[in-house]
């Protein structure tokens, strides 16, 4: 039993990383209606950028911020010069899947080419270990959870209380209506990509931090887990992604302690497939089936 509780603790850490990743991913879908399969490519390249800075002595948290900035700029450029032009060309939903897939392929392999085939690690201080009942966590892990919570609160505040957030929600809900009511949708979309790109870059670094030792291919399976979290909560819904991240994260780790750690991701895959098969709009979505 305490083993299960301990794995819940791991689950919270995984959920934290997932939450930051999935919220960015799902918001990109909300604003552009595209499942951005290059998301993991941006994440891992950001992680390596952070590594490059970390190696020359920069503090890991500053590296995290720099990685976020990199993610923001890269995501903005990708949308501006690749995704948007293809959408304007009427590439179609499936066409966009192939486009984002190809972009992800390029990013991940460029990272592999520049970063080298060997796994690397950040130089960081794990800090003291804290124990609370069955939960055992290092300071770094607690910091990751704290970061996730702060990020969630930040996204919530943005969407709920700022004009930009309202504009984002309106644009995501109905583009033409938003434009007609005077919202500068092009600008809103560009800013959304900047913000979600920042989240993406951060998420990549946190993922790498938590992995200990990582390489360009470490992220491959994780993209599917991110998609699972987003889909479970209803694609395009930021709050759903947060909840989905919690569910998937905990379920993954608990099942790892019950079944075997090898099948950790497989559990997330199965959940994703089941949701897509039975309730593609998301399990946490109240919907009237037309």
């Amino acid at each position: 039993m305490s083993l299960i509780l301990e794995s819940v603790g791991f689950g919270l850490i995984t959920a934290a990383i997932l939450a930051i990743s999935a919220v960015g991913f799902t918001m990109q879908f909300a604003i552009t209606n595209v499942l951005n399969l290059s998301y993991s490519g941006v994440m891992i390249s950001a992680a390596f950028i952070a590594y490059g800075l970390n190696v020359v002595g920069l503090n890991i948290w500053l590296c995290l911020v720099m990685a976020g900035i990199y993610g923001a700029v890269l995501s903005f450029l990708l949308n501006r010069f690749i995704f948007r032009p293809f959408q304007r060309r009427n590439a179609g939903a499936v066409g966009m899947v192939i486009v984002t897939l190809a972009v992800g392929l390029v990013l991940t392999n460029l990272t592999l080419a520049f970063g080298g085939p060997d796994n690397v690690s950040y130089t960081l201080n794990n800090g003291p270990t804290f124990t609370a009942g069955p939960f055992v966590m290092t300071a770094i892990q607690l910091a990751e959870i704290a970061l996730a919570i702060v990020t969630m609160l930040g996204v919530h505040a943005l969407l709920k209380f700022t004009r930009l957030g309202k504009a984002m929600r309106a644009t995501a809900a109905n583009l033409s209506l938003a434009r007609a009511s005077g919202i500068r949708t092009e600008r809103v979309i560009a800013i959304t990509w900047l913000i979600t790109g920042f989240l993406c870059g951060m998420a990549g670094t946190v993922f790498a931090m938590d992995s200990g030792s990582f390489g360009a291919s470490s992220i491959a399976l994780f993209l599917v887990v991110i998609i699972a979290a987003a889909v479970v909560g209803g694609v395009g819904r930021p709050y759903g992604a947060m909840a989905g991240a919690l569910i998937i994260g905990v379920v993954m780790e608990v099942s790892a302690s019950i079944i075997s750690a090898d099948y950790k991701e497989a559990v997330a895959f199965v959940i994703l497939l089941l949701v897509l098969a039975l309730r593609p709009e998301g399990v946490l979505v109240r919907t009237s089936r037309a």
Partner: protein, 336 residues
């Protein structure tokens, strides 16, 4: 011709045959019928595994260092027939994923996820197909009778593989140029309308998934019979991307284009890297290969989405009667 050159040629032509056959299957599903099956590699993988475990002896053989199901030690052609059947059978559940009511991009992602999931599962669940290590010492067809390493065997194998590709090409062409092919293309264009004119699109989709699955399975058998081993690393999801790239580049909906794409992308790339001296750290050249593949996909989708060899227009006007007979409908003949 030296033996080395001969082996090189037979290897490259057999790989070409396998890729061409797989691309024909994927093209039938994706290019002709519009089914977004991005997990096509599953069929090839299943076919290869089934052909392997049907032709291999029980897993206690050879010192028992491998664990797998089956081991029925069946002679050719049963493993290959089994492979095609297995490909068709596993196409049935994939039909649940790419169904009409699911958005096509969700379906596409779901198929990719399925391919990744199955790969992870087989990789970890050793009792099935020996896990990450995969299967080795897979007997080649008729290996009890002939020496499968001899030059003449290799040549015959390659010729037979190419012959099978020819057969598959004929079948696939018959399908797409028939009235059934017309209905498939109508489904590709607008599924709702196709239903409105009486086409049972669910049945059509499942049929094409089965046929494509069988083709994919057969291509897997052809490959495993030649290289005599198979492992999860051979069918990670990027391998499906290679096939998709082949069809996008070579020609979507055009069977010759699909085969051409197979020669260009999987085979062509493989060969080009032979002539580039490996520079930099290990793995750099393959990584750059993938970068180029990605860029190629983007370039073609942008500039020439139909591919190099476009789908041909079907010209039927030549079959219309020359004008003359009076209109057969009892109208007042207002003809201004």
């Amino acid at each position: 011709m030296s033996n080395g050159t001969l082996y090189y040629l037979t290897t490259i032509f057999t790989y070409a045959a396998v890729d061409m056959m797989a691309c024909l299957g994927l093209n039938l599903q994706f290019g002709v019928s519009g089914i977004t099956n991005f997990g096509f590699i599953i069929y090839q993988a299943v076919g290869a595994y089934v052909a392997a475990v049907l032709s291999m002896p029980g897993d206690a053989a050879n010192g028992g260092f491998q664990t797998y199901i089956g081991g029925l030690h069946m002679p050719f052609p049963f493993p290959w027939i089994g492979a095609a059947l297995a490909g068709a059978i596993i196409a049935v559940p994939t039909g649940l994923v790419v169904r009409r009511s699911l958005r096509p991009d969700y379906a596409a992602v779901a198929m990719l996820v399925t391919a990744v999931f199955l790969n992870t599962f087989v990789n970890n669940f050793r009792p099935l197909f020996n896990g990450a290590a995969g299967l080795a010492l897979v007997p080649a067809p008729f290996s009890g009778i002939f020496n499968s390493q001899s030059a003449s065997y290799q040549v015959y194998y390659t010729l037979f593989a190419l012959f099978l590709v020819g057969l598959v090409y004929l079948v696939v062409r018959l399908i797409s140029e028939s009235p059934y092919g017309r209905s498939l293309r109508a489904m590709r264009d607008d599924e709702l309308t196709a239903g409105a004119i009486g086409k049972n699109t669910d049945k059509m989709r499942m049929t094409i998934l089965l046929v494509g699955g069988a083709i994919g399975g057969l291509s897997g058998a052809m490959l495993v019979g030649f290289i005599n081993l198979w492992a999860p690393s051979a069918w990670t999801y990027p391998e499906t991307i290679v096939l998709i790239a082949a069809i996008i580049v070579g020609g979507r909906g055009n069977h010759v284009g699909a085969m051409f794409g197979a020669l260009l992308v999987p085979v062509g790339f493989l060969e080009v890297t032979r002539y580039i001296p490996p520079f930099g750290p290990p793995g750099l050249v393959p990584a750059l290969e993938w970068v180029v593949t990605g860029i190629l996909i983007l370039a073609f989708l942008w500039a020439r989405p139909e591919g190099i060899l476009r789908e041909r227009r079907r010209r039927l006007a030549k079959f219309l009667p020359v004008q003359g007979p009076p209109p057969l409908l009892g109208s007042s003949g207002v003809d201004s």
